[in-house]
Amino acid sequence: MDLYPFFDWLDTSLLADISKAYGGVFAVVQMFHLLGMSLLGGMVLVGDLRLLNLVMKDIPSEVVIDNTYKWFNVGLATMVVSGIFMSSAVSLKLYYNEMFWAKMTALAVGVTFVYFVRKPLLSTPHDALRPSVIKLTAITSMAIWFTIAASGRWIGFS
């Protein structure tokens, strides 16, 4: 499926006009993107480090995981909305950028992993799960979100 028409449309959309013409607006949206990133990254780290038994050992891991999901969702939604706005400024450049597609693929894997693998698995009592599976889930989760963040930064240098 060729997504070029979408990127072409985005390049000439109202969003692109605003993001290209008003640097201040772009900067504020970028700030929200970074805020969402820190929120999401923080929730991922807190949850996964708890699963690895490295932090907050006195709080049951089920409680920690349940409390991180809500703010993870807020962080992800903030990043997606602000990310679409930011990409409108350079949409055609991004379309031809290999690292952008690496990031989008990793993001799709990350979202699939969170909602269809990690969440259903961890919704059962953690005592009923093999510790090795819990640890593998935590390591994979951190690897996915590290790849998304790193490939996102790499876009600017490729």
Binding site: V117, T124, L129, R130
Partner: protein, 54 residues
């Protein structure tokens, strides 16, 4: 009766855990290959720019 209930509750759990392990191994394997390629490319560029040190 207790044993039957245990079997019923752990069977989906086992399937879910097996699926999770397969998913994780596939993702981690792909990432290892991906980052290996990126790092190899960077090393190649550094060698082109600065030589291989010999």
């Amino acid at each position: 009766m207790a044993n039957t209930t245990e079997v019923e509750t752990t069977a989906p759990n086992n399937r879910r855990q097996t699926f999770t392990v397969l998913f994780c191994v596939a993702v981690l394997g792909t990432f290892l290959w991906f980052w290996g390629e990126q790092i190899a490319e960077v090393i190649e560029m550094l060698e082109l720019a600065y030589g291989d040190g010999s």
